[in-house]
């Protein structure tokens, strides 16, 4: 979204916190204080790679929400990545300058809730690091249930155990420990909320378990960002501005538009927020919906597309832009 003020930040610390996971501390490049944020917020980090490649990836803020002296994020290097996470791991050192958006919260704590169950898988722990600090400061009742592959693979385990003790429940798949989510959710008092973040399959599973034990939808919260998946190249025709733009195999529609100087609306760039919803005028092949925003019926109707993550299988896609 063009309304976003970008903020120039300097990397103050880089720490390896687990295999393939690094923590970065970002401070305002001009030394100003950063705005406080609400737990669950993320920022978009803009990275400029070699040969003009630009990535804008959403990362959850993991530092204390009321601490304006710096923001911290944590990045897993993704093997299948389009390069953003690899750039953060290989190209960013203390002193590197980056741009970030203002914090946006698509995963807020339900403040009227009486108890909070946080369910994390792997790097999905990140939004909860800030949430737990906020919940602890509010003296709220909460538990973390954290599924990890092994201690070396799971960031922040030691810190979490030290800070929150028996509120932290670890399930190690390297030891074959099962994740007893069903019994956890079956035993909660009224007014409890569940929050889940992790791999897509885990999120789907946790939401399903929640519904199966009779929790209302309103008490089940999830956050997932999808990196725009690659695919075949195709042409986007802009019906209103009468332009043709080619979307490359590694690009999202949104990125292709931006590369040609066309501003489109966005907020999360991960198929979660709905901001980039665009009307489809025509399409000569199937739409490949990759978002978590449109309902199944909307996806089937073929009338809308989330241009930050979704693509078209045919050769041309005409959009109401």
């Amino acid at each position: 979204m063009t309304a976003f003020a970008l903020r120039r930040v300097r990397v103050a610390e880089v720490e390896r916190v687990a295999d393939e996971v690094k923590r970065f501390r970002l401070v305002d490049a001009s030394g100003a204080a950063l705005p406080v944020f609400s737990a669950g917020s993320h920022v978009l980090v803009t990275m400029h790679g070699a040969n003009g490649h630009v990535w804008k990836n959403p990362y959850s803020l993991i530092s204390a929400p009321d601490d304006g002296s710096g923001y911290e994020i944590s990045v897993l290097r993704l093997a299948s990545s389009r390069g953003g996470s690899a750039f953060m791991h290989d190209g960013v050192q203390p002193g590197t300058e980056l741009h970030i958006s203002e914090p946006v919260n698509l995963f807020p704590i339900a403040r009227q809730g009486h108890k909070h169950i946080l369910v994390a898988g792997g790097i999905g722990i990140t939004p909860f690091l800030a949430m737990m600090q906020e919940l602890a400061a509010l003296n709220a009742n909460f538990e973390l249930h954290y599924k990890v592959r092994g201690l070396g693979r799971a960031p922040f385990c030691d810190r979490l155990l030290a800070d929150y003790g028996s509120r932290v429940h670890l399930y190690r798949s390297d030891l074959g420990q099962a994740f007893p989510l069903e019994s956890v959710l079956s035993e909660q008092p009224l007014g409890t909320h569940m929050y889940v973040c992790g791999p897509a399959a885990m999120i789907n599973w946790a939401l399903q378990v929640g519904r199966a034990v009779g929790w209302p939808q309103e008490n089940l919260h999830s956050e997932r960002f999808t990196a725009p998946p690659p695919g075949r190249s195709f042409t986007v025709k802009l019906a209103r501005s009468r332009r043709d733009i080619v979307v490359g195999p590694q690009q999202s529609i949104l990125e292709a538009l931006e590369q040609h100087g066309i501003d489109a609306q966005y907020l999360c760039r991960g198929g979660a927020c709905g901001q980039c919803e665009t009307r489809v005028v025509a399409c000569d092949g199937a739409l490949q919906h990759n978002d978590h925003y449109l309902t199944d019926e909307e996806k089937k109707s073929g009338e809308k597309i989330m241009i930050c993550v979704s693509r078209a299988a045919g050769s041309t896609l005409t959009l109401d832009l």
């Binding site: 009224l190 034990v213 209302p216 309103e218 008490n219």
Partner: protein, 202 residues
């Protein structure tokens, strides 16, 4: 005169059984009981067996009619309560010990729905998760914005505030926290000039 298209005017989606819920608690009045019976019929006996109905008995004309309705709602366990306050208190007692998986429903007049949602909210139940159906009377509970007093069973506007005696125009502005519509002084513009009373919420 009604002031409408006000956003806070609630809409009720209608009763629908949550087949996943481990237990169901329903608050209803005589008109709402018909909606509950419909819901029990669309679900299976398994759902009804997990369901408790708190039935406000005050608008049943005879004890036989009440008995017949209790019979009609079987196999759900129906507990008759003398009035809405008693029914909402019974709901609160249940919710005090309840676990997630307990689903709350309300069917009947708007004050009944509002009071049920309000009581459930005290136990952390999100108002959107209470399944509601409006049946029967359109009567409203009205809060006087001047003295804050509540007037119950309002079917007309303007209406006299039962607390301070001002004549109030009943607005569509609804407070979920108070479970009441707002009443504002009817002759605020020209003192003494009170529009003709109309029956609006029969």
């Amino acid at each position: 005169m009604l002031i409408s298209d006000i956003k806070s005017r609630p809409v009720y989606a209608g009763l629908e059984p949550d087949l996943f819920a481990s237990s169901n608690i329903v608050v209803c009045d005589r008109a709402g009981a018909a909606a509950v019976a419909d819901m029990l019929r669309t679900a299976n006996g398994d759902f009804a067996a997990k369901t408790t109905v708190f039935l406000c008995a005050e608008d049943f004309v005879t004890p036989q009619a009440l008995e017949a309705q209790i019979e009609n709602l079987k196999p759900a366990a129906t507990i008759p309560l003398p009035n809405l306050n008693a029914a909402v208190a019974a709901l609160g007692e249940r919710l005090f010990r309840a676990k997630m998986g307990t689903r709350v429903y309300a069917a009947g007049s708007e004050p009944l729905i509002g009071s049920t949602v309000q009581r459930a909210a005290r136990f952390g139940v999100d108002h959107r998760s209470v399944r509601c159906e409006h049946r029967g009377s359109l009567k409203r509970r009205v809060q006087c914005v001047h003295c804050k007093g509540m007037t119950d069973d309002v079917t007309v506007s303007p209406v006299r505030c039962s607390n301070c005696g001002l004549m109030l125009t009943v607005r569509d502005h609804y407070s979920r926290r108070l479970a009441a519509f707002q009443g504002v002084r009817a002759d605020a513009e020209v003192p003494g000039e009170i529009p003709e009373q109309q029956v609006l919420f029969q």
